[in-house]
Subunit: 149 residues, 2 copies
């Protein structure tokens, strides 16, 4: 059976990115950016590897997608990200004027919803796609970390 | 007379960066990061040149300072930036745990103060250093832009 191109399909690709981050001992968050059912950017959190707090999956994906498109505005693009964006990433997404944000699991503490980060009026955001898988991966990471220390 | 190392001294360096951005036809905002009176990062807005909404002066300065320090937390560092940081940059500064933020002019519309972006509890922010020079440079840029179009 051919998998249709729906939000679950692309969130699975973001989850694969998150798993790659996990294998690198990075907080496992992944993202892809899609336009016309084509993935134009894939990225995962690399803050430890790059020693850089700005190296969140979404930030790298925004830069990569703009590079692919040859323009800085992500019109008609959808970002899929396994965890709700933080205020830095939501702030970057504001500037990008991205059309759609789809996140997996909520981040009640550091996420843009509870912190009231302003999104662009052209941007729609939905959440809860593969929420359980996205949050379980994160929980497993922190449990393994704790057991090692 | 030797100029002392005070906030005005370092804001002048940030203004030099902003002037460099102006010459490149970039919105003229500049930043430097300082630790122990030493400038460890200099950057200016490059969003047009790099076709990348994330290429604000502060973001590049954070990455460069972390690279210089060999660690991602900007403890004991001060960021000087000519205009109040936006929510993306303030969000990045949150993650960096920077000790101090000094901005020149306010940004009432897109700045982190009116948008209530959360700063790290370890971070102190002050503003108004060379405010007039910082905002005049920005105003001159937009007037020249308008006259060209």
């Amino acid at each position: 059976m051919i998998e249709p191109f729906d939000d679950t399909f692309f969130m699975k690709r973001a989850l694969q990115e998150a798993e790659t981050a996990f294998e690198k001992n990075e907080i496992p968050i992944g993202a892809v950016i899609v336009v016309n059912n084509q993935i134009i950017a894939r990225a995962h959190n690399l803050t430890e590897t790059l020693n850089d707090v700005t190296a969140h999956a979404e930030m790298q994906a925004i830069t990569a997608a703009a590079n692919f498109l040859g323009g800085k505005y992500l019109i008609d693009c959808t970002l899929y990200v396994t965890i709700e964006p933080c205020q830095m990433c939501a702030g970057a997404l504001f500037w990008s004027q991205i059309s759609r944000i789809v996140y997996g699991a909520r981040d009640e503490k550091r996420g843009c919803i509870n912190l009231n980060t302003q999104l662009h009026p052209k941007t729609n955001m939905i959440g809860g796609i593969l929420s359980e898988e996205c949050s379980q991966l994160l929980k497993r990471f922190f449990i393994e970390k704790r057991n090692l220390n």
